[in-house]
């Protein structure tokens, strides 16, 4: 099937098998390997990216379902060379270790802050509760997102 997608602001047209998963399309067809794959059952959230303005588990979305829509991945998080406050927060607060869950966590965090600029610790924990991190015990991920919330306005 022929599909067209707007990924991180650029248009991409491809002919794909109808069964191709969005995560495979993004990684294998477009070479954007920042989004990861970690499970077979939609449990881990390593694959979270935005479909239009909503975070989705892209292992559970067919590429053809994203036809004509906007997709935003971790590669689209920074504004040029300026890192998103969420990215800055993850570094400042040691919110990542192996970094495998990190892109998905950051995409969810960005969405959270867009909708709730002053989240509580519980808000953050709930927002990322559909995603797994095996390295950080979540402590510093939570801290990173709160840091980002506190530094949103910084130039």
């Amino acid at each position: 099937m022929k599909i067209t997608m707007y990924v991180n602001g650029s248009e991409h047209a491809r002919d794909v098998e109808p069964r191709m998963l969005l995560i495979h399309f993004i990684r294998d067809e477009l070479g954007l390997t920042g989004s990861h794959w970690g499970c077979d059952t939609s449990n881990c959230g390593a694959c979270v990216m935005w479909l239009d303005e909503v975070p989705v588990k892209s292992c559970t979305v067919l590429a053809v379902m994203a036809d004509g829509r906007r997709v935003t991945t971790v590669e689209g998080l920074a504004r040029g060379t300026r890192l998103d406050p969420v990215q800055q927060g993850f570094t400042a607060c040691h919110g990542l270790q192996c970094g495998f869950c990190t892109p998905g966590m950051m995409m969810t965090a960005r969405w959270l802050l867009d909708h709730n600029p002053a989240p509580t610790e519980t808000d953050v924990r709930e927002a990322i509760s559909g995603q797994v991190c095996r390295c950080t015990g979540y402590q510093n991920i939570v801290k990173s997102v709160l840091w980002a919330a506190a530094h949103e306005g910084d130039a």
Partner: protein
């Protein structure tokens, strides 16, 4: 000089937060093919034929490998890391569900998967050996019936340590002996990234480049050379960014070898990356220790003896990835943090039809089991002696002045101050306050638990004379190059999986040389660019490789001294290293730092003997002993006896890993391990049914803690340097995984003490906790409403944010009960509730909870109750009897459930759900 040690952001973050990390599945080479593995659906089966004709005919399939193809190359079997052999692709039998049968290589990964379905396997099912306790009975079928296994009867080894007679005598003299059976379940480290490889064989150069998810690239290179017959200098192993490892990425897995063979036969790069169910079902299990423990003490709480008998389930091949010369790994460190004069343990390891492996999962092989056993036993002893568990521990800790301390089983601990760590943990947690809170809550019918655990880890393998992997002694190299402009590159043999080596190791070198850590680049994970060494596991990076880096840096410094003397025109003896520079004694201002010295070293300066022209140095570090990090943990839980659910409310952890190079990273390592403790204690277990089916093959069944289960963690630190490590550091990567599960379990058991519960095995799922409560109550007691936390319907409604409507609250609460609990597989629950106990005895024999109202059991006769229990089919039946304990006259079921909070039968759930509208 800037202080090199201390918290600082990590160098590796820059690429990882931009999505520019390079993990195994991110590697893509021109012409690359994709592979998938056909796995056995049966746990035990004789293979008659594997027919690949149809798969080979698939237009996108390049090749299919079977065990026969590998046998032709002598590669159907490979040696394990424990002296056994393991099938790469099965030729004779499938020995566990998920075992590798065939390897399909195709143009893309979807086609490779499609082709798996085109392979037909003819096999004769055999009875699997799933129960470790009967594996060696003689009647059990043989898992291994190849040549050379005759008479082994599924037994792999018997091993023991300690003084059996002295221990026996200690037990004979003891005032009190506590014994317990406990299982440390089979678990899986489940790094978020699964395992995989990209093999690229260049037939012209005869050279293999192997990208592979390995924590030990150099050991892998040697193993690939030994296995494939390729010369080792023609093999380059690259371990890219790893998405976690935790021990699971130490072994060589069949898929790696198949990828190599496939690349050699097709002449093209071949990528194989396993999916999650393959990861959970075929790689890297840990623990699976079935333990009988005994502890002996005087009546005033002095521990005098410790004994353990272990049955270890090693699965179908003995593939334990462990570096020690002891078959039982480090288990015999099981006296742990206590000064116990007599100890003895014995281990029997057996084959079963389960996945092979046996990795350390963030532990120095078997220390986690040892710590868990002793910490549970100490808690049970405290219960028996009616003594506070903190007090009992204090009385028996190894005292600071006893270090270096030699344990009853022969371990020499390097350093420690256990009382200080325990005291700090108790004060950070406000232990006294917690006990007061607990007493108040108990009076109100609320169940809060306080669990303590101490641990002593043994990390940083070697020394090489005691430790090796397939004959490779445990030592690690470091290469340090100092450029003319004074920046440096450090090559190390270990490989980060998230521990931040690129940062910590730069700090180590920078500290020694007075450089900025940003001016030190760390290279790792590429055998062509780094010196030989055994890799990252068992928390050995800082203790071994870190020490090698420091030794190399100090060699650079000594060489620099010669040049500095020349530059400053003084004798070497007149120089001292101070604040990051060689300075003339008595004249602080006159000195030279490494940057200037490096320039001079590369200049036309006429160099004296001892310096050839640059400052570069290398080192191999063979540790004189292990390092022994330790700590004291306090875990606070709240248990809802109505649902059996456990909430970990607080976790206080005091860790001592000697000198901390980057405390931020150290704390991150501890956070991870504490989350592991929550997961291992409460939810993670790889289980099987009797037919050999793995019941935990996905993240739907193998549950991992999320941000909602792990509380905000409270850390404290003490620093007791290692006396033999060059900078006094000890390993930290695994301490918390080792120490924390016992704290959680001790806490839950403490919460359940009023129910008479002494022990329940991990994972403490709601069903297990609920079953333990029921069992703990035992004959003569039952779960009455006085035992239960009172939560009225309106409170439940409030909890759920649904106003104050009691009926609605109850309905929501009941609808919320997990299926697991409602269908609860416990099998031995006691009667709850009503009937005034009249028919309890008849019913208890059935081992199910039975309580019935008239609607359930017409006539309410004993026979009818028995019938009701049988009808329940292992479900919990709860109802209300008029004037029974559970319900008040006229109260409806919802009210009874709300107050009694007991599980309900499915049709009640349905009814109640219906009322939600």
């Amino acid at each position: 000089m800037s202080e090199a040690y201390g918290p600082r952001p990590r160098k590796e973050d820059a690429r990882l937060i931009r999505g520019q990390g390079k993990f195994i599945d991110d590697i893509s080479l021109p012409g690359m093919l994709h592979a998938a593995i056909l796995r056995s659906p049966l746990a035990h089966a004789r293979i008659i034929d594997i027919d690949t004709t149809a798969a080979l005919a698939h237009p996108k399939v390049t090749t299919v490998l079977t065990g026969e193809d590998l046998a032709a190359r002598g590669l159907a079997w490979m040696p394990t890391l424990s002296g056994d052999v393991q099938a790469v692709l099965a030729t004779d039998k499938a020995r566990f569900q998920g075992q590798e049968l065939a390897f399909v290589v195709a143009a893309d990964k979807y086609a490779a998967r499609d082709a798996l379905e085109l392979i037909s396997v003819d096999a004769e099912p055999l009875t699997p050996v799933m129960d470790v306790s009967v594996a060696t009975s003689g009647d059990a079928p043989l898992v291994r019936d190849e040549e050379g296994f005759a008479g082994s009867g599924n037994r792999i080894f018997d091993w023991s340590a300690g003084d059996e007679a002295a221990t026996e005598a200690a037990f004979a003299r003891a005032d009190v002996v506590v014994t317990a059976d406990m299982t440390y379940p089979r678990i899986h480290p489940a790094p978020l990234e699964t395992c995989g490889a990209v093999a690229d064989y260049d037939p012209v150069e005869g050279r293999l480049t192997m990208w592979v998810t390995t924590q030990a690239p150099h050991a892998h290179r040697t193993l690939y050379a030994m296995l494939t017959g390729l010369p080792e200098h023609k093999i380059r192993v690259i371990s890219p960014d790893l998405g976690g490892g935790f021990g699971g990425k130490v072994p060589v897995y069949p898929g790696y070898l198949c990828a190599i063979v496939a690349s050699m036969t097709t002449g093209r790069p071949v990528k194989w990356v396993e999916d999650r169910s393959e990861n959970l079902m075929s790689t890297a299990f840990a623990r699976d220790f079935h333990m009988h423990g005994e502890i002996a003490a005087t009546s005033d709480g002095r521990i005098t003896g410790l004994r353990a008998r272990i049955l270890a389930d090693h699965g179908a091949f003995n593939a334990v990835a462990q570096p020690t010369k002891y078959p039982g790994g480090f288990f015999h460190i099981f006296t742990s943090s206590y000064d116990i004069p007599a100890a003895y343990c014995s281990i029997t390891a057996v084959y079963t039809n389960k996945a092979p492996g046996g990795v350390a999962y963030s532990c120095s092989i078997r220390v986690a089991e040892a710590v868990y056993l002793v910490e549970r036993l100490v808690d049970m002893l405290a219960g028996r002696l009616d003594m506070d568990p903190a007090e009992l521990r204090s009385r028996n800790l190894i005292r600071p002045e006893q270090f270096p301390y030699t344990s009853a089983t022969g371990w020499e601990y390097d350093s420690g101050d256990y009382p200080r760590a325990l005291a700090l943990a108790l004060s950070l947690s406000d232990y006294e306050g917690l006990r007061r809170e607990q007493a108040e809550k108990r009076a109100r019918g609320e169940y809060m638990g306080i669990g303590i655990s101490l641990f002593t880890e043994a990390v940083g393998a070697g020394p090489r004379k005691h430790m090796d992997i397939v004959g490779l002694g445990m030592a690690d190299g470091a290469d340090l190059r100092v450029h003319p402009t004074g920046t440096a590159v450090l090559g190390v043999s270990v490989q980060t999986q998230g521990q931040g080596h690129e940062t910590t190791f730069a700090q180590l070198v920078a500290h020694e040389l007075g450089l900025d850590p940003d001016d030190v680049e760390v290279v790792h994970g590429d055998t062509d660019r780094t010196p030989f060494g055994l890799g990252t596991y068992g928390s050995r990076s800082t203790p071994v490789s870190g020490a090698a880096a420091v030794v190399a840096a100090r060699r650079v410094r000594e060489r620099a001294r010669i040049i500095a003397a020349l530059m400053l025109e003084v004798a070497e003896a007149d120089l001292e290293w101070l604040d990051g520079a060689w300075r003339v004694r008595g004249d602080y201002a006159a000195g030279a730092g490494i940057v200037e010295i490096a320039r001079a070293a590369h200049s036309s300066l006429d160099l004296p003997d001892g310096v050839d022209g640059h400052l570069d140095a290398s080192a191999v570090y063979n540790p004189p002993n292990l390092t022994f990090p330790f700590g004291a943990y306090v875990c606070v839980t709240d248990v809802d006896p109505a649902t059996g659910s456990v909430v970990v409310r607080r976790f206080i952890a005091v860790d001592d890993c000697g000198v901390r190079i980057n405390p931020m990273i150290v704390e991150g390592q501890i956070h991870r391990g504490l989350a592991d403790g929550v997961g291992i204690a409460l939810m993670q277990a790889i289980t099987f049914d009797a037919a050999g089916n793995c019941l935990s093959g996905s993240f739907m069944d193998y549950l991992l803690p999320t941000a909602l289960e792990v509380p905000s963690l409270e850390l404290g630190a003490t620093v007791t340097p290692s006396p033999h490590h060059p900078v006094g550091a000890k390993g930290i990567g695994e301490s918390a995984t080792v120490g924390s599960p016992a704290a959680v379990v001790n806490s839950v058991m403490d919460a359940l003490a009023p129910f008479g519960v002494v022990h329940a095995d991990m994972p403490l799922t709601p069903a297990v906790v609920w079953g333990a409560i029921s069992r703990g109550l035992g004959p003569g007691r039952r779960l009455g409403r006085r035992d239960l936390r009172r939560r009225s319907g309106d409170a439940l409604a409030r909890d759920q944010g649904r106003g104050e409507d009691p009926a609605l609250g109850v309905a929501l609460a009941v609808a919320d009960l997990s299926e697991q609990q409602v269908d609860g597989g416990g099998g031995d629950r006691v009667e709850v509730g009503a009937d005034r106990g009249q028919w309890r005895d008849e019913v208890r024999g059935l081992g199910d909870v039975v309580e019935a109202n008239h609607a359930d059991v017409v006539g309410h006769s004993p026979a009818a109750l028995v019938q009701g229990a049988q009808d329940a089919e292992r479900q919990v039946v709860v109802g209300r009897e008029d004037r029974g304990d559970l319900g008040h006259p006229g109260e409806d079921l919802a009210g009874a459930v709300a107050r009694g909070g007991v599980p309900v039968r499915r049709h009640h759930r349905r009814d109640l759900r219906a009322r939600l509208g």
